[in-house]
């Protein structure tokens, strides 16, 4: 196998660099996916039928917590990748674990938020606005959930194998994914919650 040792481990083999390139294309598709969901939401968000409006159900508190958790986790995954490049296995794993815990926290708060909405009578079936809200947030939440499972699996692999062409490549790709989810959340925070509360 031809390896270019001037590159970081995650890019070193041709397969690795192809995978990262391919994942960027995948993120391109993900952008279109979320853009479509946002378009749907913006089309429907005033169509509340007989249900509550955005202003009536949104609460800034939990949303700020979610934002804080996810933004911090994006920072810690960055630190993890940095540690990986320095070849520091233990710090890398610690930052990785912190990232996943923060992600789990985010998910917990989001689930509580959903439960509150449902208790207030705002369900997926209530109105077009709520359908689009739940599906937009739910798609992001499902991505986070999948990320947690994926990251958990990766962590086991890193513990077992250390930094190899495979694990370094996968971890780097995971970090791209995680940053992406963070960016999507910033859009959700600004254009769903803040706009809804204004």
């Amino acid at each position: 196998m031809k390896l270019d040792n001037t590159l970081p481990l995650e890019y070193r083999s041709e397969e690795n660099s192809n995978r990262i390139f391919g994942f960027w294309i995948f993120l391109g598709a993900e952008i279109v996916l979320f853009a479509t969901l946002f378009a749907v939401y913006f089309t429907l968000w005033t169509r509340t039928g007989n249900g509550p409006s955005a202003e009536e159900i949104f609460e800034i508190g939990p949303v700020l917590i979610e934002t804080f958790l996810l933004l911090t986790s994006s920072f810690t995954i960055g630190l993890a990748i940095n540690a990986m490049r320095l070849g520091l296995k233990k710090p890398m794993m610690i930052f990785f674990i912190i990232t996943l815990i923060l992600g789990l926290g985010f998910l917990g708060v989001e689930i509580m938020e959903f439960v509150t909405y449902v208790h207030e009578g705002a369900t997926l079936q209530t109105s077009a606005f709520l359908s689009s809200l739940f599906v937009l947030l739910g798609t992001h939440g499902a991505h986070v959930t999948l990320g947690l499972l994926w990251g958990g699996g990766l962590l086991i692999q890193i513990k077992r194998e250390g930094f190899t062409l495979d694990t370094a490549n996968k971890s780097f790709i995971f970090s791209l994914y995680w940053h992406f989810l963070d960016v999507v959340w910033i859009f959700i925070f600004s254009f769903v919650y803040l706009k809804g509360l204004m």
């Binding site: 378009a39 913006f42 089309t43 005033t46 169509r47 509340t48 039928g49 007989n50 409006s53 202003e55």
Partner: protein, 313 residues
């Protein structure tokens, strides 16, 4: 061969009155058939150019005609030729664009020469699989047929109790969708009395193929007579009766001396599906355009829509 077939068909086309769309009986359909014939002419010229080149290339440069040692040249392309076949189509598209925009805006308002006439407003609602025509002015309602006076602009207000359908009377003009959460306006006008085929053009399920109706254009005097006759012979449309109508798949023709608009108003104004409370600065493109572009009619009858309940059923 194809060329011959197509030009023969063209000759057939221009002289063929059995093609309903090209046999217009009113100014809207006339505008449209004019646009269609003009575009066919332009397209025929383009086809002709392509076909001549095609036949020329195929007959001249076949291997069986070439010398055995003939070696085709390497050609990168030619700036001027390529410029030509970009520039000419651009000009053609520009011309067609002007024609399109002008004709589209012409058919979206009262036909030229009739601006001073007060349009006859007819609410046309579809339900599976019928058409309900309400005449708020006259206070009558028909099912599966519509009578109209000639030489008077007709403003169809389209909406649906169910799947999207499309009201189409080809000899009077093109179609437009009837949908459940908004009202579309279709301008038509008949200049010749006669019976015209009308139908739903948009697939709406099992009974779709039978969703036809007769559009009968009659002189204004006869029209008045018909309205009076209806008023003296038909009965009132009750809410129960209307609901039964909605639920029955096929009902044939019906006539009533009142409309359903009082108890089941059209989705416009306060009854529109886009009934958003509070601030409604809507940023979404499709929505705002679809919603409001067709609603700039001063004579919107809010008075009829006293019932503010949701229209859906």
């Amino acid at each position: 061969m194809l060329l011959a077939v197509f030009s023969a068909l063209l000759v057939l086309l221009s002289g063929c009155s059995s093609l309903t769309v090209l046999d217009p009986k009113g100014p809207v359909a006339k505008t449209q058939s004019g646009v269609i014939l003009f575009s066919i002419l332009v397209m025929a010229i383009i086809l002709l150019v392509v076909y001549i080149l095609f036949v020329f290339m195929l007959s001249k440069y076949r291997a069986s005609k070439a010398a055995p040692d003939y070696e085709p040249p390497h050609e990168e392309g030619n700036k001027w030729l390529e410029f030509t076949w970009i520039a000419i189509p651009v000009i053609i598209v520009a011309i067609l664009s002007v024609v399109t925009v002008r004709s589209t805006s012409a058919i979206e308002k009262v036909a030229e020469g009739y601006e001073n006439e007060k349009p006859l407003v007819i609410y046309a609602a579809s339900s599976n699989w019928k058409w309900h025509f309400s005449y708020p002015e006259e206070g009558i309602e028909t099912v599966n047929y519509v009578n109209i006076p000639t030489h008077r602009p007709i403003e169809f207000k389209l909406y649906a109790y169910g799947p999207i359908s499309s009201l189409w009377i080809p000899q009077l003009g093109g179609q437009k969708y009837a949908m459940s959460d908004m009202v579309n306006t279709l301008h038509l006008l008949a200049e010749e009395p006669g019976s015209y085929m009308g139908k739903n053009a948009n697939f709406s399920g099992e009974g779709f193929a039978h969703m036809e109706f007769e559009a009968l254009a009659m002189s204004p005097a006869e029209y008045e007579k018909w309205v009076d006759e209806v008023k003296s012979t038909a009965s009132e449309l009750t809410e129960d009766e209307f609901n039964t109508l909605l639920e029955t798949k096929h009902v044939g023709r019906k006539t009533y001396t009142s409309t359903h608009l009082s108890f089941s108003p059209a989705p416009e104004g306060d009854n529109a599906g886009h009934n958003h409370g509070g601030d409604s600065t809507d940023t979404e493109m499709d929505h705002s355009e679809m919603d409001h572009s067709e609603m700039d009619h001063p004579e919107m009858e809010h008075s009829e829509n006293s019932d503010h309940s949701s229209h859906g059923n």
